[in-house]
């Protein structure tokens, strides 16, 4: 089986050197490709949103449930941000020989381009989410725009059992329009962290499970060591670390929900009423600092992860 002969002389002429693509062309194509890759995920999210809307609508109509702005699942944008990179990259070979890396684009720049493309779609999704929440709130007769009246604990009391009304003080809270940016910044920072994890490791799920397992083992070990040595801080160290990462002033909750998640809880009062009780009034200054911190960490982590795929330059 042989191929036909051909003229060799013509092949020897030096061809013009083909150019590399423009960054804009690469960016636009990656945005289009990311949109296609995320179609399935978007359909699943849309179905879930439709379901929640239906349930909330039925509750409002049949039971007269009135929703408040802060009762809505504010962790959702952060969750979307951290899961989106999985949907973006799951079906790509991220190791050195993947198709993406054979294209005529600087590899680290290409990784950033693809991450940016995913972020564009994430922001589009969050924009829809940001519209959906107040629409649903308004439809149920709840209030969207501050000022809200918060029931804040007058002193540090244990949040257990029916709560005496006298332990609460009412505080008007007007966080201002900045509160509308929380879903966007939360999704952005968590997306950067998720992208760094997916891009920087071959098996990100193993890293997540490994970290959780390591934390569990560390907790048990430090508990045992603390009891044995009778040193309190040893036993409390893992819990303290988790608190620092999640619930502290600039922790993940400050980033994801402006601390509206960890500072409030729904309690039953001695009168039998149920009310949202706040341990303190959220401060958007904390959210701003947490956003800068976590976004910075995300960008650094992404840089490090993308650098794993950089061009193989000689020293």
């Amino acid at each position: 089986m042989t191929a036909p002969a051909f003229r060799t002389a013509e092949r020897r002429a030096r061809p013009a050197r083909p150019p590399v693509p423009r960054l804009r062309a690469v960016l636009m194509e990656q945005i289009r490709a990311a949109g296609l890759a995320l179609r399935g995920t978007a359909l699943i999210v849309a179905a879930l949103v439709a379901l929640v809307t239906l349930v909330a609508g039925l509750q409002s109509l049949s039971m007269g449930v009135v929703r408040n702005f802060y009762e809505w699942p504010t962790l959702l944008p952060g969750l979307m941000g951290v899961l989106l990179p999985v949907a973006m990259w799951a079906r790509d070979e991220r190791s050195g020989q993947g198709y993406l890396w054979t294209l005529p684009v600087d590899r680290r720049q290409h990784a950033f381009t693809k991450v940016f493309a995913g972020w564009v779609w994430l922001m589009a999704g969050i924009a829809l989410f940001a519209l959906w929440r107040p629409v649903l709130t308004l439809a149920s007769g709840g209030s969207v725009l501050p000022p809200e009246t918060l029931h804040v604990l007058a002193s540090q009391v244990a949040l257990a059992g029916p709560l005496d009304q006298t332990t609460l003080r009412t505080v008007p809270w007007a966080p201002g329009p900045l509160i509308w940016f929380v879903p966007f910044t939360a999704a952005t920072a968590s997306y950067l962290l998720g992208s760094a994890l997916v891009l920087g490791s071959r098996r990100p799920l193993r890293w997540v499970i490994g970290t959780v397992l390591a934390y569990a083992i560390l907790s048990v070990a430090s508990d045992a060591a603390g009891a044995q040595l009778r040193v309190g801080w040893v036993a409390d160290a893992p819990g303290g670390l988790l608190h620092l990462l999640v619930e502290s002033r600039y922790g993940l909750d400050a980033l994801l929900t402006a601390r509206t998640g960890t500072l409030s809880t729904t309690m039953t009062l001695t009168t039998g009423e149920r009310a949202m009780v706040w341990r303190a009034v959220p401060d958007l200054a904390d959210w701003r600092i947490a956003t800068v911190l976590w976004t910075g960490v995300g960008l650094l982590a992404l840089w490090a992860a993308a650098s794993r795929h950089r061009e193989q330059r000689r020293a």
């Binding site: 020897r12 490709a33 070979e93 061009e311």
Partner: protein, 305 residues
């Protein structure tokens, strides 16, 4: 090493002392590849000889431990994107990218990265190779993926094609069609090809240079005519208990015998080999030219272990 510097104009691909190790295994050892512009250079070697590693280094997908590589004068380590813009690459592995895309969409995707993408030619290749545009990439067989990879590599008419086992996984009909398309492509556009294959016979009419990789060493590199002039089959009549001269054994001698008739393949100048054989007591009855595949195989071990 049997090596002749082609010295035909500029080189499309040149490597200088290229070495690459994976742990203790040496994949490439001081390889000095020279591919003249416009050549169809066939890279021969058994599995694991280092052919795919060489392609990956040329694409800057792997970093060499030592040495340098150039594609049309561009240093692959310093200008990876610039090099890849010159290259149509069919990798050894047949993993399909973007599994949720259709073939047509992937071609559209690829076109965005190559400003000189020829849409009409891509359509022609797609039809000729029987790629179904609306088929999902995740559902393609090995052979269908290979066909798509060929379209992706050829459609922007790159000046250099790096084809790593391009017909692997193709059925005989498509294999023939793919080779015909490659020949037409070469006739239409000034293109250099470096192709690794286990089916050297298929490239009998295309190849004009041959390189042989053995355990990461480039043991031979020469023009096809040179190879076929240097490697010859000798039919000998020998006395009982005859042993080939030691210096001929070192030049890749292959031997089969029936009684006192011995047929052997020897690398070297015909007159010189004939003289040495005669000196060793053998009578040379016939010297014949070998097919490209047989000539190239003379440099590889008979025992793959």
């Amino acid at each position: 090493m049997i090596y002749t510097d082609p010295r035909i104009g500029d080189y499309a691909v040149a490597t200088h002392g290229l070495s690459k190790r994976y742990g203790r295994e040496s994949a490439l050892h001081e390889v000095d590849l020279r591919v003249p512009e416009g050549a169809v250079y066939v890279l021969v070697g058994v599995n694991g000889a280092g052919k795919s590693t060489l392609f990956k280094v040329l694409m800057n997908l792997e970093r060499p431990d030592a040495g340098t590589a150039e594609v049309f004068g561009l240093d692959t380590g310093r200008d990876g994107p610039g090099v890849r813009a010159q290259v149509g690459y069919v990798p050894e592995r047949q993993d399909a990218p973007y599994r949720s895309m259709t073939c047509a969409r992937l071609l559209q995707h690829a076109a965005a990265f190559y400003p000189e993408w020829d849409h009409a030619y891509a359509d022609h290749l797609t039809r000729a190779l029987g790629v179904r545009p609306q088929a999902r990439i995740g559902g393609l067989s090995k052979g269908q993926t290979r066909r798509l990879q060929l379209v992706l590599a050829l459609a922007y008419r790159p000046p250099l094609l790096l084809l790593d086992e391009p017909t692997d996984g193709l059925d005989p009909v498509v294999r023939r069609r793919a080779l015909t398309l490659l020949a037409e492509h070469l006739a239409d556009a000034p293109t250099t090809v470096v192709i690794s294959t286990h089916h050297i016979d298929e490239l009998e009419s295309l190849a004009d240079h041959v390189g042989v990789l053995r355990d990461g060493h480039l043991v031979a590199q020469m023009a096809r005519e040179e190879l076929q002039r240097t490697v010859r089959s000798y039919q000998l009549e020998v006395p009982d208990g005859w042993e080939a001269p030691r210096e001929l054994q070192a030049t890749g001698l292959r031997r089969s015998s029936a009684g006192r008739d011995v047929r052997c393949t020897v690398v070297g100048d015909e007159r010189e080999v004939t003289r040495r054989l005669a000196d060793a007591g053998a009578r040379v009855r016939q010297v014949s030219k070998l097919a490209l595949e047989d000539a190239a195989l003379a440099f590889l071990p008979e025992d793959p272990s």
